[in-house]
Symmetry: D2
Subunit: 344 residues, 4 copies
Amino acid sequence: MINFQSDYLEGCHPKILEKLIETNFKQSSGYGNDEYTKDAVLKIKKACNKEDIDVHFLVGGTQTNAIVIASILRPHQGVVSAISGHIVDHEAGAIEATGHKVLTLPTDDGKIQAEQVRELYHAHWDNPMRESDVQPGMVYISNPSEMGTLYTKAELESLSKVCRELDLPLFLDGDRLGYALTSPYNDLTLEDIANLCDVFYIGGTKCGALFGEAVVISANPLKRDFRYTMKQRGSVLAKGRLLGIQFSVLFEEDLYFKICGNAVDYALKLRHAFEEKGIELHGHSLANQQFPILTNAQMNVLKKKYGFEVWSKVDESHTVTRFCTSWATKTEDIDALIDDIRLM
Amino acid sequence: MINFQSDYLEGCHPKILEKLIETNFKQSSGYGNDEYTKDAVLKIKKACNKEDIDVHFLVGGTQTNAIVIASILRPHQGVVSAISGHIVDHEAGAIEATGHKVLTLPTDDGKIQAEQVRELYHAHWDNPMRESDVQPGMVYISNPSEMGTLYTKAELESLSKVCRELDLPLFLDGDRLGYALTSPYNDLTLEDIANLCDVFYIGGTKCGALFGEAVVISANPLKRDFRYTMKQRGSVLAKGRLLGIQFSVLFEEDLYFKICGNAVDYALKLRHAFEEKGIELHGHSLANQQFPILTNAQMNVLKKKYGFEVWSKVDESHTVTRFCTSWATKTEDIDALIDDIRLM
Amino acid sequence: MINFQSDYLEGCHPKILEKLIETNFKQSSGYGNDEYTKDAVLKIKKACNKEDIDVHFLVGGTQTNAIVIASILRPHQGVVSAISGHIVDHEAGAIEATGHKVLTLPTDDGKIQAEQVRELYHAHWDNPMRESDVQPGMVYISNPSEMGTLYTKAELESLSKVCRELDLPLFLDGDRLGYALTSPYNDLTLEDIANLCDVFYIGGTKCGALFGEAVVISANPLKRDFRYTMKQRGSVLAKGRLLGIQFSVLFEEDLYFKICGNAVDYALKLRHAFEEKGIELHGHSLANQQFPILTNAQMNVLKKKYGFEVWSKVDESHTVTRFCTSWATKTEDIDALIDDIRLM
Amino acid sequence: MINFQSDYLEGCHPKILEKLIETNFKQSSGYGNDEYTKDAVLKIKKACNKEDIDVHFLVGGTQTNAIVIASILRPHQGVVSAISGHIVDHEAGAIEATGHKVLTLPTDDGKIQAEQVRELYHAHWDNPMRESDVQPGMVYISNPSEMGTLYTKAELESLSKVCRELDLPLFLDGDRLGYALTSPYNDLTLEDIANLCDVFYIGGTKCGALFGEAVVISANPLKRDFRYTMKQRGSVLAKGRLLGIQFSVLFEEDLYFKICGNAVDYALKLRHAFEEKGIELHGHSLANQQFPILTNAQMNVLKKKYGFEVWSKVDESHTVTRFCTSWATKTEDIDALIDDIRLM
């Protein structure tokens, strides 16, 4: 069985394991106050081409979203998100557990647009009974979105402009950021994101690390005391060096981008193969996840050899499925799958 | 510089790294639904000699304490702890952040006794204005305690008896449990703990793992829905296998106990060396941490070659210090330190 | 200007003021431990024809909803509500502030049906990734609903049956309960509600009291420790007698039902007048709120003499408005308004 | 039986009842947007001799403390209080329920001093592991304190100075403020308090109102969005006019101060009578509560005719008791009690 079910099926890039072995018996300070972490911070600042950012390392995505959001909002505020956003239905109420409502915006493609934010903002502030309502306090987006679509530079610039005008911090969930930035359809750089967002994170778990997400805070008012919230949520790793080592390796000689770029190449080849076969794809996913709409017969054929995810039912005979590639996907496995699609 | 500052200065036991390498490209399900995790659960059940327990793996201690406590208490209840308990002053208000007060009991040695719990319970329930007070809802202890002391079997039996009588779940924080159970002064087994406590955890981070704590739930009413709270707190690792692999290795052929036992041997040798030198030790620590009370002159001598922690000031010329051994401590380093103590 | 904007424009029924004056200098215990409160509890038990219920008095609706819901749910659970429910968008995120998500169901008429609850329940429990989702933990309805519609006895029986089968406590928000129970279209009694719901409240603020809501808990497991949560939320009135006195007066010789019944008569006369004039009413409101859809011209005419609420825009020339009657509405004011509708 | 058990045994000052009757059928806007509330705000501004303050009305003390504190602190911060503070052990964990720890300071007399705040602040910020600790975020005091003692102007000035220097908002709980300000031993004015504190409240419940507390916010950064937190905590009264009417009456022609002043006179007479009899008083209470230490025999004599509170046991034969006077205390009742003390 060859699995394309998700991008967290394997361990990590071998270079990380090598570094873990090499450093295993070196003694270092705990809680991220170590040399490896310092090195990783420097490399990320360099990759963002920005000195005045704070970088913190966390273990996973839900944890990161909850901590970033809780550190920004005041008790009566909520976070604005696309209705399809990961924080809405996939994080077990983690945001609500910190006392905050998620204010949802409709979306067809997983993205939200600047005008939607502006409208929601004014709908709140123009309401004379606004105090009965949850005040919008920040904006959450992800890139790629839950549907694999990518924000264009123009879209992100508009969002950023509106958010700054309305004093709503903009937070970009970059769980799979490596796969967005290396898509041939992408026109954003890490530097753009660091400049346009107030806070974002660079996902490690799904992009070559054993685990780990690097939070980058650009906006000065959001920097203060961030580590307290991390600590309070039980998210400061005793052996913080593990996160430092991993990001230090991933940001050495662009490894992060190289391995993510390969995965996206494979995914787009796969997309092409489905399209050639006349199989429609759900949404316009341009990164490492592809959502072919398969007939029951096609599903039955493919599931003999391949693992993939059932995403949603279309009708009795059609199903949206998800195939993920990753930093760990092998050329021969993609080739085999493409051959089998052609032969279907 | 040889460091004895803490027991989380290095990576992990080499056998864990070997297993990570061996399994790195094997694909497995996420979120702990993998074969390694299943294997680790089986081994822990065997080590506890108890089938009807639930075992869950979490990343760190503060996270574990907050999740266990939040999963048990109702909103108006608090958790009873020794005033010196880790949850009181060392976890950044993590318990309060889940809405609960920590109800503290005085202690000289880091432990609490059954009678104290009974008194606090009755002080609450005998108060006609009890609804203005926080209701005691569970009891938290740690073994070894924050001061390195150990609960005897008799003490834990008494506590357990009172807690069950009063319907207060008993939670044992086993952050350094390996070092407690392998002390020659200990008379408790893992099986005893599983039988006497309603929930406890077996610490991995400080006992040979890169990170990880194994929560064991014995009491049936506490088992339900535990994973939801884990997920909501962002504590279900995408690559849950990492926790499974580590505990599977640690509980293979008693590795966990062997490596912790070594560390305790070293620590007790160290204790002996201090005592022989006429240096008083703070408290009666019988596990891997020792707290010698050093003069300024002694501190100056030792800090040239050794790292250790300043614990608390006694007076202008005396300081309580902490020396930790761990699974990673080397014989030659302990020998060197003991020689230097003798020569002081 | 004669106001029909809401049902909380005036003070309280004169008999309550009389009783406040009569008792003003009598000394009584605080926090609801007084004779007036005991008397009110007895009268409510009698009105419910049920001995084994707990009755507590709170100050307002949002407070009551938050306390009841927080006292029932475990941290990972959410409350199921119609999308139009008061707790969704009108309480400033009070439910989320207690850590819980509101799980919404679509509705056309403000009510939810038993089958919707069953489907949502199964959608959750059939999801293999259910732990990423918020677990449904109870069901919230209001009667009358936000749109003024009434649950029939058959509907409430079905809901109750499904909720008990699925172990989801059923909570009825009775903010305007008096106006529901006295509608000629209603077939439910207070006794039915006490038997079919696990907890509900009898609204006082909008039904003749200065303020106050009487929470009735029928389900035994929900009774325990309720006053702790009240106290913790700052909702135990020092002079609890004020609530006792008010409900004692309201439930003396059916005063509550008499004054609410009058208000509903007025509202239905108003409804009839609008209908006769060919003015459509939004929804099928059968209690003390009526929602005529007025043209701009009609609005301009009426707003010269009458206060009413703009509910929502239909199109450029039509608006849903709300006219409320209450225990304080005067016959001459209703007559004047009906005359003016006819003359429009 | 004549009761001196507390200062909330009766209803309210008759002038308030008169005003409630007079205004009962006048229609007004809800939620505090009414003329009575506006009038009360103006009067309080005048009494504080300060225009640039925000005034909000809440129902009770625990509610007010929780809302003010939750509106100020960030999630990782705690509130500093005397160990005897009302928020520590008398509010059912209301502060912890909003996610915050109470950081306690020792006290002999119920007050805290500027230097204690400075030390706690530096102990936190000088700690290299400070992120494991809860950051002090504001200071809570009450005047009179829980023990009836009064802050001198010099003490409050020092506290205010330190708090402003350290950027810790200073909040004064004025549950019984009327009784502090009218004590002959007091040298503070309402204006002083408004200038020296960042936020405080003027207690109504215990000082002549049926219920109600007036929150005064002096510090500009604390003003923003306060009503959202009120609403979210279910503390915006639908008939907000009830609070406006009460404070409007209490601040008409200094009624608040007159009635509180009488109560303090009575209490000090009582103190004198106990002292003359050779009965020691616990603490140095200078307002409306007195804490005589009675022998069992004395208690038995007095409890035949008078209600009072048992405060704490001193030894087998002595008990600290509490006698409260209030706006409702009658001259003849005080005279009778004093006679009986003399005859004991």
